[in-house]
Symmetry: C2
Subunit: 131 residues, 2 copies
DNA sequence: TAGCTGTATCAATCATGTTAATACAGTTGG
DNA sequence: CCAACTGTATTAACATGATTGATACAGCTA
């Protein structure tokens, strides 16, 4: 369900925040469904509960989950966060387009590639891939 | 010419590698033109020559420059590196377009955003910015 | 030869992520 | 009520990596 990429330069807690928030935005994790407990997830990933806690704290701070002491952490209603998610994607697109520009890729080429890349995903619609 | 972004999470030497390689890919720095000397650039940026040296070593390892002891470092022929740079960008664009699709961003929206993001970078290029 | 170049090495420092241990507080089911 | 689970907080220790600073060596050139 959740994994850690050791080659990812970012800290573990940041990876967890991204993984979970993606699953929520994509509605793989539904509103009000329970998150794995801090200690359980820590055991599964072979990391310390402290690191998971840090990720959960950040997820809560950003509004992706809500936590109740003694009960657990639960997926929040992420619809209001869709806008934020989109802006995250857009900012990454901005960063990428900058690199494309700097690599001598023309605007047409970049835009065309964006379109065909997108369509490639819609074509692979079946949904074979789930984490 | 070259600046350091303190808000950038990446280490200074990596920023330098990116800045310089960008300039070379875009042919702002021409093949065989001299790089600033290790100590000169270090003084300009108020960092240690050690950090600059690390960036130069990486640039040389990646084929962007060649260094001659006693003479200096010089811009290499970066044409052979273009293909590698572009393919890496395209694969990241593919990954990003998948996330956009799953986040409910339409193809038109994604493609339009790609175009405007790209143009934003070409606009910012005008040359008001010099360090 | 003086003064520039790249290159190498070493120790010290600093920031940050991560671990580990422990404790406290709230909920729940037996 | 209590054992066992939940989230939360705190503290110290450790590891890694970036950066600094100092010093030294080697090659080029005016």
């Amino acid at each position: 369900m959740i994994f850690i990429d050791v080659r990812d330069r970012r800290p573990i807690y940041e990876q967890l925040v991204e993984r979970f928030s993606d699953l929520m935005i994509r509605d793989v994790l539904k509103t009000d469904s329970p998150m794995p407990s801090v200690r359980t997830l820590a055991a599964e990933l072979s990391i310390t509960p402290n690191t998971v806690q840090r990720a959960y704290a950040e997820l809560e701070r950003q509004g992706y989950i809500y936590s109740i002491k003694g009960k657990g952490s639960f997926v929040a209603d992420t619809k209001p966060l869709l806008k934020k998610s989109r802006s995250r994607i857009m900012s990454e697109l901005s960063e990428l387009s900058g690199r494309a520009y700097r690599s001598g890729i023309s605007e047409e080429e970049f835009v065309n590639a964006a379109g065909s890349c997108y369509r490639a995903h819609t074509a692979a619609e079946g949904g074979t891939r789930n984490d």
